[in-house]
């Protein structure tokens, strides 16, 4: 199934992007081989969301190049699945959870066509993976925040993209669900998807992710977490609001997540 063009799934070169002409992120260069799970970390305002939006073309890019399988990413946006940090939806909107998940199928269904039975099947599978099958017919606004987040994740799953860009998918979600979601993301990675996740859970990044991108306006460090997480890189990323604590053979990062 998975088309593997070149060496990299996503390649970002010298990217600068921001708002009203002033860059919020600059000189961003990194490349992700297919089938990897990459954490994007950095304090609030570091530009994690801005990076995602620039990759997806939601804000104009001021400089640089973004390639998906060696071709401009903007020409193949249906191959990128996006979970925004904050879904600003009208909670009263009259759609059910399965309606929302079906929206992920729209690019594959194509203009002017109706969903077919294999689309229904894809929706059911996506709902099953986030454990929302029981709520398939619930109106979207009646779900709790965490359930809504899972519904939107299911929409990304139903889209079946090559690259998943998930902006803080576990914020405001209870720990059990957090683990379930990270387990699901690992499954996706193992099936060949490339998964990029902005997160504040540094310990989870150390334990589960292949690469980490430490971001604070620029790329501070990029590589496997064990190498990229050093006192100096974390200091540069977060200022002095972090500590690395050695607990037995585990390295634990203690973060002040509410730092602005």
């Amino acid at each position: 199934m998975e088309k593997k063009g070149g060496q990299y799934c996503l390649e970002v070169r010298e990217l600068a992007a921001g708002y009203d002409g002033t860059p919020a992120i600059e000189g961003i260069t990194f490349a992700i081989p297919p089938g990897q799970m990459v954490g994007v970390i950095g304090p609030n305002g570091a530009g994690k969301s801005t990076l995602f939006k620039a990759i997806l073309g939601l804000i104009p890019r001021q400089q640089g190049e973004i390639l998906l399988h060696d071709a401009p990413a903007l020409d193949q946006r249906a191959m990128m699945g996006y979970l925004p940090q904050l879904e600003e939806i009208n909670r009263a909107f009259p759609v059910s959870v399965e309606d929302v998940v079906m929206m992920g199928r729209y690019p594959r269904i194509g203009w002017c066509r109706r969903p077919r039975s294999h689309d229904d099947e894809a929706v059911r599978q996506a709902l099953a993976r986030v454990e929302l099958l029981d709520h398939a017919r619930t109106q979207i606004g009646r779900l709790s925040g965490g359930q809504q987040q899972r519904a939107f994740l299911a929409r990304v799953l139903a889209q079946d993209p090559h690259l998943l860009l998930l902006d803080e998918p576990v914020s405001g979600v209870d720990t059990t669900t957090q683990h379930a979601i990270f387990a699901l993301l690992e499954e996706l990675r193992n099936s060949g998807k490339t998964v990029v996740v902005a997160t504040h859970d540094l310990n989870c990044v150390v334990e589960r992710f292949d690469q980490v991108l430490c971001l604070n306006r620029r790329v501070i460090a990029y590589g496997p977490p064990k190498e990229a997480f050093r006192e100096d890189t974390l200091d540069q990323t977060y200022g002095h609001h972090l500590m690395i604590v050695q607990v037995g053979d585990r390295r634990v990062v203690v973060a002040d997540e509410h730092h602005r």
């Binding site: 600003e88 939806i89 009259p94 929206m103 729209y106 269904i109």
Partner: protein, 277 residues
Amino acid sequence: MIESFVAPFEFGFMQRALVGGVLVAAICALVGTYVVLRGQAFVGDALAHAAFPGVVIAYLLKGNIYLGATVFAVATALGIGLVSRRSRVSYDTAIGIMFAGAFALGVLLMSTIQGYTVDLFGFLFGNVLGISRRDLLLVGLLGALVVLTVVLLYKELLLLSFDPIVAEAMGYPVQALNYLLLGLMALTIVISIQAVGIILVVALLVTPSATASLLTERFFRMMLLGILLAVLAAVIGLYLSYYLNVASGAAIVLVSTCLFFLVLASRRLRIAAKPRA
């Protein structure tokens, strides 16, 4: 009894009024579903008012009134989109600037005409009883265009209305679709002017759909229910207008308003009647 239901429609003008009123109400409710869910009632009102100078100019030049209205409504739709995108003025401020200016132009032009303003008053307040065969044909054609667009782009317009950011991330031409919806609103308003008038058309655009939104949590059902409620209001309004000899556009709108409050009240009662656990 039955006779009093049938009697009004022995007249040709009443038959045309029935067909025209029902068509216009149904199309308004169809498009109104998007207007309500996207929170664009104010935009709808603005487009309607902005069509007025077009009507007056067409009247002065003895041209086609619908054409004049269409040009101005569509131009305003584009203008609203542009002003709000290109400047730091907020969306509703941009609308306020555009529509008040356009309406003022219409009033100014109207004040230059002596004696014949009665016809123009008809466009402000509507007169479904005065609908002609040609009007009906136009309503039918433009209405079919609107319906066809909504049928073909059902999925895309739903996604756009629910989650424009993700729609854009998926690669949909969100800006073009926004303009398309504005264009559909403009066309719908133009074909409604004869029936309900510029000032009241926003009511047909939002009230039946808002009523429907109280009754269902599914998009497609909301669309169908909205259409049903709008048709009901058109028919009842027409009877009232005939028997009480009152303005037809206002009667249709008021029936629609009453239906909204009836549904709202019955919902409140049902919620209040629910036993507390």
